[in-house]
């Protein structure tokens, strides 16, 4: 038996023994996702147990080095772990911007002290992180951010406002882009700071969306003191970290594959679309199929070692536009029933709210217009793009 085969056997056995039965059931709602952090209230004893057991093995971040609290697994081992977890439908023990975003950035740009301090508690789910990027006047044009961090000798004094901060009201710490210099070009003078959301001067306010409640917040900083050692990477050169994370994000968002075909939704509900709507659905279905084939092809290319690069913009652009079209058609199919906003029957307007929520798909994570700009510049190499 090869080393990998052995690893698979022991992993399978460990999971069989340690993954609580409840943690093998599909999540019923977003609440079943465990985000951890100081204020986390576990939904069940099993949820707590599962997190603790996985964290003890370092398997909340399987491929991070063990000294930072990770599992120290090779790429192949990590893949086997994921396969075996999938095989028993084990839930993800920990949802975390710390693992998905901050961790990779610290491993790439942080110093050893920072890694040793922050990564283990991320792995154990003790600290919940949020991301402070966008500002009211720096949306698509992120680099024009204005939240100011003044050098006060032993600390920075942070003043300003962030927006679209997911779960800011429930997070413990924030990784945050701030301006430490505004004399040069806008991409210069940006720094990457970490600080405690419990610091004096930090406040948050949830954002109500057109679809209803949302995880997004506005976050305000008023004379927030941040110790100097909380700067990641070089001062004024945080834009490279931001770019690193943005690409990361775009690739995560670009996943629009596995949805139920409209033809099945029609059959399941016994809808009989009129001939005009039917024609639109037929066109949509072909586009959705061709897009799914494109996702597969890009995945194969990526596996074959061809970097996606700016093609991730294509997936983001087309996938999100398609999703909007899809929900318009679902609303057309549902007709009157889809318009109800408050009733048990409609699951509190679930379809209508989802439809409204999709309108944000082509805005968040870089608008469709930004993606088209990126394609113009990096793929088509059009001048001035």
């Amino acid at each position: 038996m090869s080393e990998l085969e052995k690893f698979r056997e022991t992993t399978k056995a460990w999971l069989a023994k340690n993954c609580p039965p409840e943690m093998r059931k599909p999540m019923r709602s977003e609440k079943d996702a465990c985000w951890g952090g100081r204020n986390w209230v576990f939904q069940s004893a099993d949820q707590k147990l599962w997190l603790e057991r996985m964290a003890a093995k370092g398997w909340t971040a399987p491929s991070w080095p063990q000294k930072y609290g990770g599992g120290g697994l090779s790429r192949s081992e990590a893949k086997i772990l994921q396969q075996e977890m999938n095989a028993i439908a084990a839930r993800n023990p920990l949802h975390s911007f710390g693992i998905w975003m901050l961790g990779p950035a610290l491993l790439e740009f942080g110093n050893e002290e920072q890694r040793l301090r922050y990564l283990p508690e991320i792995c154990r789910g003790e600290i919940r992180w949020c991301q402070g990027y966008s500002e009211p006047n720096a949306g698509s044009d992120l680099a024009s951010l204005a939240t100011k961090a003044e050098d006060k000798g032993d600390h920075y004094l942070v003043n300003g406002q962030k927006v679209w901060t997911s779960y800011a009201d429930q997070s413990d710490w924030i990784f945050c882009l701030v301006r430490t210099d505004n004399t040069g070009k806008k991409h210069y003078g940006i720094s990457f700071l970490l600080f405690d959301m419990a610091s004096k001067g930090v406040s948050t306010k949830p954002i109500l969306l057109i679809s209803g409640r949302s995880p997004f917040c506005e976050t305000f900083f008023e004379d927030v003191k941040v110790p100097k050692e909380n700067l990641v990477g070089e001062r004024d050169k945080g834009w490279s970290i931001a770019k690193y994370l943005l690409t990361h994000e775009r690739e995560m968002i670009g996943d629009y594959g596995a949805v139920k075909p409209l033809s099945e939704i029609i059959a399941d509900n016994g809808y009989t679309p009129n001939p005009i709507l039917r024609a639109k659905i037929a066109e949509f279905e072909i586009d959705a199929w061709a897009f799914a084939q494109t996702m597969s092809r890009m995945l194969m290319e990526a596996k074959a070692g061809v970097s996606l690069g700016a093609k991730s913009s294509m997936l983001k652009y087309y996938g999100t536009e398609l999703n909007k079209r899809r929900y318009e058609l679902m609303m057309d199919l549902a007709g009157h029933d889809g318009l109800e906003w408050e009733s048990e029957r409609s699951n509190d307007g679930h379809l209508a709210r989802s439809w409204l929520r999709t309108k944000g798909n082509t805005i968040e994570g870089g608008t469709s217009e930004i993606q088209l700009n990126i394609i113009s510049k990096h793929i088509l190499q059009l001048p001035g793009a």
Binding site: S134, N137, G139, S140, D141, S144, V163, W164, I207, L208, L209, I210, Y271, P273, N274, P275, I276, L277, K280, K324, E328, M331, D332, A334, G335, H336, D337, G338, L339, E340, W341, E342, S343, G349, A352, L356, K359, G360, T362, I363, E364, T367, S368, E369, L372
Partner: protein, 373 residues
């Protein structure tokens, strides 16, 4: 054909503009929504609308109305669309009035028209029974019983059905269709208020052995088809006018934003890709305006093909208003997604108005059939 407004209409337009902007701006809808208002519109506004003559714009003078015709009613509806004004204008002042006016007997007219015009009585029209508008498939039945009938069946998307004093019900009477006027508190009538995505209200209504007398029939037994023709044409044209107002207004918001918002050191309205989309939308809105004016004029003229024209207008407005709403959200970026701005409210109202009395697909299909292909 009058595609331009005459002096009377211009005066009415001005007064409606002022009235709704002042008395029923978007903030009123927000307040009603956020306070979980019991009926979802302002009764005092409705009273003021009555005083202005808006509620009786289609009522003949002999029944105390101002009788200004469809172009006038459309202008009022357009302003309500612009301000997202919630009111029972469509259900009572248009659908019910048209039905009564054209098909009611003198007693019914005398009893109801002045009262509707005065803002005292509210009506709702109960047609649809399934998730899509389909007036050709009615299964609620009226079976003879004693001197009258018994109604059995189910209606959905009865706009303002939650507050109406009287429900006008389309029912099958043997092979034909008939319309019954049923007071809301009649035994066997069960009304469930449904709050819609646009924060306005409709009802699902079930009829369980509901007893009605012959006097409750609007016009005569079998008049249902004729009545439907009349009211659907009127309702669709008025909804198209409302969508014209809503989409024009949301487009204005978008243009203002394009002229003010800065990104990448530029006013975003300087970006040519956005300019071209805005300009294309401008053209579509001009076509939409022509379509609405044509429909209202055809109704005022009693044109033979008024139904076909109104259907085309409803189809065109459904798709143009949708485009205007979608572009508004996208061009406002993240802000367009927030409840803080009004953009989402327009998106929601347009979606509902587009669905009511037949969506664009429905009317495209009708139009194709009508033209014989």
């Amino acid at each position: 054909m009058a595609l331009l407004l005459n002096e009377d209409e211009k005066m009415l337009q001005e007064s409606a503009q002022g009235f709704f902007a002042e008395k029923a701006p978007v903030s009123q809808l927000r307040t009603l929504r956020d306070n979980n208002d019991e009926i979802g519109f302002s009764k005092s506004l409705w009273k003021e609308m009555a005083e202005m003559g808006f509620t009786s714009v289609l009522i003949p003078e002999e029944y105390s109305g101002v009788d200004m015709g469809f172009m006038a009613a459309g202008l009022i509806s357009e302003e309500m669309g612009r301000n997202l004004t919630a009111s029972p204008f469509l259900s009572s002042a248009v659908l019910a009035v048209e039905a009564l006016k054209a098909h009611g007997n003198t007693e019914q007219k005398s009893k109801h028209l002045p009262s509707i015009g005065a803002g005292k009585t509210l009506f709702a029209l109960a047609i649809d029974e399934s998730n899509k508008h389909n007036p050709a498939e009615i299964s609620l039945t009226a079976t003879p019983s004693g001197n009258g009938f018994k109604l059995n069946g189910y209606k959905t998307m009865v706009v303002d059905g939650h507050v109406a004093n009287h429900i006008m019900v389309i029912a099958k009477t043997d092979e034909s269709m008939s319309v019954f006027i049923v007071p809301n508190e009649t035994k066997g009538v069960e009304i469930e208020r449904t709050i819609m995505a646009d924060s306005r209200n409709a009802a699902r209504i079930s009829f369980d052995d509901v007893e009605v007398t012959g006097e409750q029939i609007l016009g005569n037994v079998g008049d249902g088809d004729k009545i439907l023709d009349t009211v659907l044409n009127a309702g669709r044209a008025i909804l198209a006018a409302e969508m014209l107002g809503a989409s024009s207004q949301v487009f204005e918001h978008t243009n203002t934003y394009l002229r003010e918002r800065k990104q990448f050191g530029k006013i975003i309205g300087e970006f040519q890709a956005l300019q071209h989309r805005a300009s294309h939308l401008y053209c579509e809105l001009e076509l939409a305006r022509s379509a609405v004016f044509s429909a209202l004029t055809a109704l005022d003229d009693g044109a033979d093909n008024a139904g076909a024209i109104v259907g085309m207008a409803k189809a065109k407005l459904g798709s143009v208003a949708k485009l205007a709403a979608l572009e508004a959200v996208q061009l406002h970026g993240g802000m367009g997604m927030t409840d803080e701005l009004d953009i989402g409210l327009y998106l929601k109202r347009i979606r509902v108005a587009q669905e009511l009395l037949g969506d664009s697909d429905f009317h495209l299909e009708q139009s194709a059939r009508h033209k014989g292909y």
